[in-house]
Subunit: 304 residues, 2 copies
DNA sequence: CGCCCTGTGAAAGTAAGTTTCACCCGTGGC
DNA sequence: GCCACGGGTGAAACTTACTTTCACAGGGCG
């Protein structure tokens, strides 16, 4: 009854390595040698061929196979991939990323990259988490049914505004973005019921944007604010408020996290609007995609 | 040894899957079928034998081997264990989120938001993981020491280019961005040794950008490419190649993920450059921050 | 003393992975 | 329009890795 016929069948929950070291004493001497090698460096073992491992354990391939069966594997290849998986899992303590923190003066580039990426990704995730789908829904509806959409944003938020404008345009919505305050004011004055005005401001305190949004509101347009600060002035002139969740580290990070968060929100709105009218949006997108195709080189393969 | 003399050598630190999806468009059709299978379910692929995988991809074993070589592996067994390791690391299938996938037609807004945020955050994370700090370092050095920096980008990548320009400008570097090809070409022609040209193109196949970058290179400038595809044409005219890792879902997502990834890279470079000269950058940033302060309302509290 | 039983490796056998090669097909020159 | 060319491909030959078989060595026990 002893060992040859699969001992613990297929159930080694705690992890393969643990499992193996657990039944190490019940193995035959030659198998134990194999087991010790495997346990001491699973990753290395996974890289070896069966012959290689057998030699290292001073035994034959047959014994290695027997070992595989003893620990519940079908054969050597299976052991190998399980080992690789195991080894991969038991590494990487995600080191000391400074959550939302500053970047230490002596940091090398790899650290900087890790920190930035971590914060950026967090901003995106957290923004999505706290986004209110109900509000989004209403905004989407307003945009989808709008006669015209004006988008305002200054400085860094201007990029986002412009991006949003371009996106909406590509799916056939009539959208405008104005880099200039005066032009924007003029445009806002021409809005009316059934139109939508979107103001983007990270701080929520950019007077230009607030002013324009206010103008739009008095004209009867639905106003939407996108800001990081739920109680900032801009929210007072907005019918709907969408917030980002970027804990802007310091000025050093160039405010990219907030930008990413804004873009994510814009993307959600965009997809929401596009989803309202699948076929039309699809057609429009395909047409615009085709239009730029001619500016690509190497049409043969690298079409992506 | 004829055709595939290791292109991107041995550096796919971020993760094999990411690496493969980046390479995907540069693969031959049959190899692409294999790649897609592997990317869509690495764990399953790791369990298959080469014949099995070949059959599933409707191709021959030979092609699978070719695929292995194309992505930098020695052979199939190596791919297998790497895949297993990879699959193990990326734990937990985060519920029904369609990783890199499309958004189902019937999805409600909450689902859409979750999917988008997930993919966006992933793009940022994976991009950071696969960024080569050594290359970044060199690029940072070049930019930090450059007499002048030209940044090129068309369409969506233009926003990123513009953002980069603005960032560099804010820390006192002489940087330009040209929305127009002809102006850009003119500018490139005026570059020389000690200058840096950065070309941004998600596909890496935007002829305008490639052309301009090439021009810059012949003039003796250091050329840097930022693209999602490590083997795209743009890499041929670049001294340094930085890649993003956005598995662009469909056109529906409006290519935001790739934008975010690009911005993250730009942010890293920016912070890297800024870190090179802390005090000067700090002073410049403070000065520019002050300059826009007057456009804020409610100065008392919301200083952020 | 000899029997059986376990552990073992050599060798044979099978399956997996790899290389070679000829074919196809699209491209570009003549 | 023809032909040479070269990349992409799979069939088949080949090599290596894995698995099984088998014979034998040693040790306990009747």
């Amino acid at each position: 009854m002893a060992k040859s016929p699969k001992i613990s069948a297929s159930h080694e929950p705690g992890g393969l390595i643990v499992h193996i070291s657990g039944l190490l004493p019940s193995l035959s001497p030659a198998e134990q040698r194999v087991a010790r090698l495997v346990v001491s460096d699973p990753a290395a073992a996974a890289r070896r061929t069966i012959t290689d491992l057998a030699t290292a354990a001073e035994t034959s391939e047959a014994t290695v196979i027997r070992f595989c069966r003893s620990v519940g594997m079908d054969g050597y290849p299976q052991l190998r991939i399980r080992l690789a998986a195991e080894a991969a899992r038991r590494i990487e303590p995600p080191d000391a990323r400074v959550v939302g923190g500053d970047i230490p003066p002596g940091a090398d580039l790899a650290q900087i990259i890790a920190t930035i990426a971590f914060n950026d990704a967090r901003a995106v995730e957290e923004t999505a988490e706290q986004l209110d789908p109900a509000v989004c829904e209403q905004v989407v509806e307003a945009i989808a049914g709008a006669g015209r959409i004006d988008i305002y944003g200054a400085g860094a938020s201007g990029f986002v505004a412009s991006d949003f404008q371009q996106k909406l345009h590509r799916i056939g919505r009539i959208a405008f973005y104005f880099p200039d305050v005066h032009t924007a004011l003029t445009s806002a004055a021409l809005l009316g019921r059934g139109d939508v005005a979107v103001g983007i401001s990270h701080t929520g305190s950019t007077s230009d944007v607030i002013e324009v949004l206010e103008q739009a509101r008095t004209r009867g347009a639905v106003t939407v604010a996108l800001t990081n600060f739920p109680r900032s002035p801009i929210t007072e002139v907005a019918d709907f408020v969408l917030t980002t969740a970027a804990r802007e580290t310091t000025y050093r990070s160039g405010a990219t996290a907030s930008r990413l968060a804004q873009l994510t929100v814009v993307d959600c709105l965009f997809v929401g609007v596009a989803a309202r009218n699948r076929s039309r949006a699809r057609k429009a997108l395909e047409a615009t995609a085709e239009a730029v195709q001619s500016h690509r080189v190497g049409a043969s393969r690298r079409r992506a």
